[in-house]
Amino acid sequence: MEKTLEKDLGKFIKPLDMFLKGTTSARVGEVPGGAALETLRKKLNEVLDHAEKDNETFHRINMCMADALTDWFEALNQMKAGDLGAHVSAQYGDEFLDQLGKQLNETLSAMKAAEEEREYTNRRKAEALKDWSKALKAVMAGNLEARVSARYGDEFLDRLGGQINDILSHVERDNEIFHRTNMGMADALTDWFEALNQMKAGNLDAHVSGEYGDEFLDQLGKQLNETLSAMKAAEEEREYTNKRKAEALEDWFKALKEVKAGNLDARVSARYEDEFLDKLGDQINDILATLKAVDDERNRQRQQLVDQQSKLIQELSTPIIQVWDEILALPVIGIVDSVRAQEMMEKLLERVVASQARCVIIDLTGVTMIDTKTADYLIKMVKASTLVGSQCIITGIGPVVAQTITRMGLDLQGIVTLRDLRDGLKRAFQDMNLEISEKKG
């Protein structure tokens, strides 16, 4: 019960008490506290005025008044005690007093309402606080989804509640981000660590997932993948280079082996898909080509020497000697092969025509062996010589040559054959009507 009310009521009670006790001048003093009380004061003082003027009336009124006052005193006391439902009867047998009583009741009701209002507000505040307290506790405990009701039947409280919920939502979001970021970072780091380990172990295909639910981390992950790919490419490149080197060396080794074995045409491929290695390969090929050229040259020279020697030997072995004017002698020495025989034939005929030798003596005394082709050439030589216009005489046919000619079934008909060169020469002189005689004197 408000102190002011008590005080206010006291201001009414005291003068009434005094009047009843006999102090008929007692009146109600200033009572601040609203229009109703003021009106009551004024009216009560009027009554006291009237009561003072007219005892009887006053007496009568005094009786009702006493009832009324008692009633009113009772009600106020009750209210003070906390019974906000207290009210006066407003039935005092006096119209004026009854009306006052009614007014008092309205006031008491208003006070009750106000008091109840206050209590209600207090209760809502208490509820709101309790609600907020509960929500925060839940949030602190980890339930970030906890919210206040913000429905307290009070606009202000509701608004506050709404703000609190905003804050809680924010906190929840931040916490999620924080939480998520934390989780994302951990995932990412684990993933990268794993990938690097794999690459270290030799798995060049290792890569990170790049999907951590965080744009920034994902981007980092992608960059890391590019780096890993580049590392892989470099590694493969190195391996590839090593492989090519090995291939190149293998190729060179093989080629040199062949060259050593005698094949001077062996070359390296010089196609190793590596500029440097290809260049080396070309250089090696140049060396091999030079080697071959030198070898060819030496062979050629050797062959030339051999040819010269054999030619010399040939010439030595089958010289064509002009033994007399218009008489040629061809002593054949050694083994005559068909190639030599053909050469001999050509050479002899050229010489015969050039020197216009009418007689050729082919001496076979020095011939140890003769093959069929050569024998054939010999016969041809004689026949060709005859065609050209030179008589051919064969001398010195030994047993071996004779056997060969016989075996071949060669016909020596028409061919003059004599024992040796001397006989051949004599015959030649004879055929040419030449005579050797001693000088006279």
């Binding site: 025509v353 030798a357 041809k380 060709a384 005859t386 065609l387 050209v388």
Partner: protein, 121 residues
């Protein structure tokens, strides 16, 4: 020297009872045939008893020409003419021998002197 008969490309030179035929270029088959006719006419016309074919300018004598030569020599022989061939080149001789031609059934000589010596100029 008189070139009495020059119907064909190949000249036939008459000298001292001798007919000399220098074949300068390889004759075609018709030219060779022509030579045969001309020669026989010439023999009859001149009454020559000797005939010399000079082939020193030829580096080849093919089988047809070889045949013509045979015919000339045979025909001349029938007419009582002694024939001779001079100047067969070495390469030609070798080829002929390898072909199997050993002679033209006529004497062959290195040069005209040798031929005339044998033919009895």
């Amino acid at each position: 020297m008189q070139r009495d008969f020059a119907l064909g490309v190949i000249p036939i030179i008459r000298m001292k009872g001798l007919l000399l035929v220098p074949i300068q270029t390889p004759p075609s088959d018709s030219q060779a045939r022509q030579l045969l006719e001309d020669l026989l006419d010439a023999v009859i016309a001149t009454g020559s008893k000797k005939l010399v074919l000079d082939v020193s300018a030829l580096d080849m004598i093919d089988s047809y020409l070889t045949r013509i030569f045979y015919d000339i020599v045979n025909a001349a022989g029938k007419l009582g003419v002694k024939a001779a061939i001079v100047g067969i080149r070495p390469a030609v001789a070798i080829t002929l021998v390898q072909m199997g031609v050993e002679s033209f059934s006529v004497d062959t000589f290195l040069n005209l002197d040798a031929a005339l010596e044998k033919l009895g100029a």
